[in-house]
């Protein structure tokens, strides 16, 4: 392994650094807060020729992803980045990319949705598009963001997967926070990530009809294959992480991460940067003898249902803390966790859904302590609790 460089980067800059190392052929993006600095850095890299890529200044997010799909359809490695309203503006193209099995890699800066207008972080943008057929992963810090970009190409382009991948960073909390990041060498990334090769492309030697209509007799089979591909990504993600750990010395725990869940009675399940706030609270309560634990969901698709059951089935009460609400019911992460637990062979723990951080509302360490206290209180019949 070549020596890695330690650099002081924001989450967005770490993503840009990761993208450069992954050597995409085409980058198409439209700026939106808080994603903008990713594509500013990438534009600078293309300008100073430290990144040899086509950088397309498109007129909208819809066009950004459309351009990536077109480029992917000739076998190019592609990157785009967006956030919030921009992600929703891409919505129909998200399905085109996943349905066409084009392994576009995209960063999304998690940000609230209007109205009321707000540029700060929550996860309603990506979670409202959970069903678009993309692999969805949520980073906790800048280092993980960089590593996920490099891993994403290996996962998305794997022949068993061929599915686009969305790497989510909490707006501002990750995108704009500066951290010391280990930057791998280009030689190591090249050895880890070979060039993208696919047969699912336009090719003069093998002319193909691409992205066509499939009527009622054939359509469902394509959807079934797509589902199988995302399910099988679970295995590929673990394989890629293992290979990544061997080469770069940073090990990742698969679809989710657990802390003290083996004997925990009260567990908080969450995702993204807020896990970084929960972790020291769990350590503090543990030092006081409290049997508490943390589950950090990394991948929402494919969803770690077995891992969720293994981690939570023995607990007395579980709180799902998320920056999302599906109006009229509950948070989408909660729905998924609940569904996984319903398949457990034992009586599932009591479940509470803590909805917080909407529009960037702060979630403090004190708030997290209160959530653990709330989990210990007897059931009062409430399920969805706004914090």
């Amino acid at each position: 392994m070549m020596p890695a460089q330690k650099v002081f980067l924001s989450g967005n800059e770490a993503v840009a650094a990761g993208v450069r190392l992954a050597r995409p052929h085409v980058i198409a993006a439209y700026p939106i807060t808080p994603q903008t600095t990713v594509i500013e850095r990438l534009a600078e890299m293309v300008e100073d020729e430290s990144l040899k890529a086509e950088y397309l200044h498109v007129e909208s997010e819809h066009s950004a992803l459309s351009a990536c799909i077109g480029a992917s359809a000739v076998g190019a490695r592609t990157f785009t980045a967006t956030s919030s309203q921009g992600l929703l503006y891409m919505a129909e193209c998200l399905h085109y990319a996943s349905g066409g099995r084009f392994p576009v890699v995209m960063m999304n800066a998690n940000r609230s949705l209007a109205l009321p207008w707000n540029i700060y972080g929550d996860q309603r943008d990506s979670l409202s598009l959970l069903d678009c057929g993309w692999i969805q992963v949520y980073a906790e810090d800048a280092q993980e963001s960089l590593d996920l970009i490099i891993q994403a190409y290996a996962i998305a382009e794997h022949p068993d997967v061929l599915t686009p991948m969305m790497i989510n960073l909490d707006g501002f909390v990750i995108t704009h926070t500066y951290e010391l990041v280990s930057l791998p060498s280009q030689e190591d990334v090249d050895a880890f990530l070979p060039p993208f090769l696919t047969t699912n492309k336009m090719d003069l030697d093998h002319p193909m009809s691409l992205a066509f209509t499939a009527g009622p007799a054939y359509n469902q089979a394509f959807k079934q294959l797509q589902h199988q591909a995302v399910v099988s990504a679970s295995k590929i993600i673990c394989e890629v992480e293992e290979r990544f750990g061997q080469r770069f010395g940073r090990n990742y725990p698969g679809l989710l991460e657990t802390l003290y869940c083996e004997d925990a009675e009260f567990i908080l399940v969450t995702l993204g940067s807020v896990a970084g706030t929960v972790r020291p609270v769990v350590e503090k309560l543990r030092s006081l003898g409290e049997r508490v634990g943390l589950v950090r969901i990394r991948y929402m698709r494919p969803f770690p249902d077995t891992e969720i059951r293994n981690a939570l089935a023995g607990a007395k009460a579980v709180g799902v803390l998320e920056k999302d609400i599906s109006f009229g019911y509950e948070g989408t992460v909660f729905t998924n966790v609940n569904s996984a637990l319903m398949r457990a062979k034992v009586q599932p723990p009591r479940l509470l859904n803590f909805v917080g951080g909407l529009g960037g509302k702060d979630i403090s360490a004190e708030d997290i302590e209160q959530l653990f206290l709330r989990l210990k209180r007897p059931d009062d019949g409430e399920t969805v609790v706004f914090i």
Binding site: R101, P159, H206, P207, L210, A211, A221, Q224
Partner: protein, 103 residues
């Protein structure tokens, strides 16, 4: 010959199970596996005796279904003709009449 139609591949076998489907929405180019004329209500019928082989119909047919390869005259490909009637309207010899097929 037909304008741009690839040869129909009658040998096409629909996939039997998921394993026979392509990865990605892709298929080798040049396959036309189904006829496409089911919404036609009137078919153009060519009177070879009146036809002078001027080929105005061949030139103006929006779907390219007038074949010129047959020795001795033109031939209309009813597998793809949509029945628009342009050929009949434009024919200077009035050699093409539209015949109601919906009856």
């Amino acid at each position: 010959m037909a304008m741009n139609y690839p040869v129909r591949q009658r040998s096409f076998k629909p996939p039997k199970d998921l394993a026979e489907y392509p990865v990605g929405i892709a298929f080798p180019a040049g396959h036309l596996v189904e006829t496409n004329a089911s919404w036609r209500s009137h078919r153009p019928v060519l009177d070879a005796g009146k036809c002078t082989n001027c080929r105005i119909c061949w030139l103006l047919c929006p779907d390219g279904v007038i074949h010129t390869s047959k020795p001795g005259g033109l031939e209309i490909d009813y597998d793809y003709c949509k029945g628009c009637g342009i050929c009949a309207k434009e024919c200077r010899q009035k050699a093409i009449r539209m015949e109601n097929e919906a009856l």
